[in-house]
Symmetry: C2
Subunit: 262 residues, 2 copies
Amino acid sequence: MPVIPSGALGALDPTSDRAVFRQIADQLREAIDKGRFSEGDKLPSETELVEHYGVSRMTVRNSLSVLQGEGLVFSEHGKGVFVRPRPPVRRLASDRFARRHREQGKSAFTVEADAAGSHPTVDNLEVKEERPSQDIATRLGGPRRVLARHRRYLLDGRPVEFATSYLPLDIARGTQIAEPNPGPGGIYARLEELGHRLDHFEEEIRARMPAPSEVRTLRLAAGVPVIHLIRTAFDTGGRAVEVCDTVMAADAYVLAYQLPAT
Amino acid sequence: MPVIPSGALGALDPTSDRAVFRQIADQLREAIDKGRFSEGDKLPSETELVEHYGVSRMTVRNSLSVLQGEGLVFSEHGKGVFVRPRPPVRRLASDRFARRHREQGKSAFTVEADAAGSHPTVDNLEVKEERPSQDIATRLGGPRRVLARHRRYLLDGRPVEFATSYLPLDIARGTQIAEPNPGPGGIYARLEELGHRLDHFEEEIRARMPAPSEVRTLRLAAGVPVIHLIRTAFDTGGRAVEVCDTVMAADAYVLAYQLPAT
DNA sequence: GAGGTAAACTCGTATAGACGAGTAGGTGGG
DNA sequence: CCCACCTACTCGTCTATACGAGTTTACCTC
């Protein structure tokens, strides 16, 4: 029978004002931070913690739920509670949409994933005409209807982001952009072929906790936020030709940008 | 005695596989999403929910803790559970460190806050020499010791971010950069006066749940992630002259960047 | 009217128990 | 040897209860 590693966890301080479940959470957190439990390790079971601390099971569960909310641990029904591993992060560089990359003929996601040695997949592909939300319509200059390209990206089978691109119908309708497979280089390559030479992109970044549907789509663990990125592509005429709305698992990404000092 | 608004919440489905506390959370979430409870509104008390649904109080609390984890509601001891308002966000534009702003003589934070009509404060100012972490040292080219400028920013009394700037001692020691008040235009203005003309910045962005100390420093509500931003400033010689490590309340910010398409 | 106090409300913490459901390992039968 | 089953262990859900602590309200006293 597994036992709590001696010294890994201390005793409660009955004189402390701090709630018992917080003291237990503190000790577990400290043990994780100090490496006494490593990534992927199983924590002591609820029963073991109950016996070790002499408290009721709900108190122990309360402690563990604190750590789950902090994203430190996750639980698996029937197995145990484990230290959440930090998955490898995908670094999005600010030149990722540079024309030179597009001209290679592969999509940005695929190129990067291949370079990182992981297996990329695109999923849930759906392309249709829609009425845009107020926000999307405003960004695109107010069209009544748009072409929407929905998709989900996975790395080695793990969903890491899902995104929807919105394009004005006068640009996209009837072109290869309206096809499920937009061809080599992606829709940005098609836009340029159609005469919409791209000038720059604007990206807006927010972070927040996921809605339940986002938890399902990205198979998010408890305590993992999402990064919400909205990118607008402008052509050399200053027109917004595409808006891409992306939700990413925050534990899978680092975004990198370069800013001029001028 | 306050009563649950009729029709705001439905009944449970006993035939459903979905756990009772999840069904209750779903109904509350839907009521919030549909505006039947608005920002700042008080939800029905735990006791009222217990009576409405005919479940035990722990089940109701479980439901509410789900919504807290999603950042939808917050609770106040003795008062009730309330729909979390979306605070006004501060938009950080990608030109916020442009030289023309610096030459106005005020810090970026102060200028922006004034423009937005809110009252900025800087707090917890501490300037000292330190041994840098491995990561900071690497970014700065490996110095053994650095000057660290710690500070916290508040808007209208609310803490929104805290940051530490790290500078190599050979640049900063003995200059106004090592003083608590770095003078008009901030340390970037001083760096340029000292001959380190700035060329560009690199920013790395991550999002994650806050550590307990970050929750205290930023007075974060449950279910609010932080944005972790690491900025490195490079001079025209390509040398990293400063690294700024910033933790921001994610509900207070939207970051905006402009990317070239070239 | 002003003040203080008590009651009634809120959420926070903790206990003890029960049953369900998913997993893993061992045991036995084929 | 392999498969089926059983068992022990895991976390998930839910009940019922108790007391504490912060807030608000009402009332009573001065």
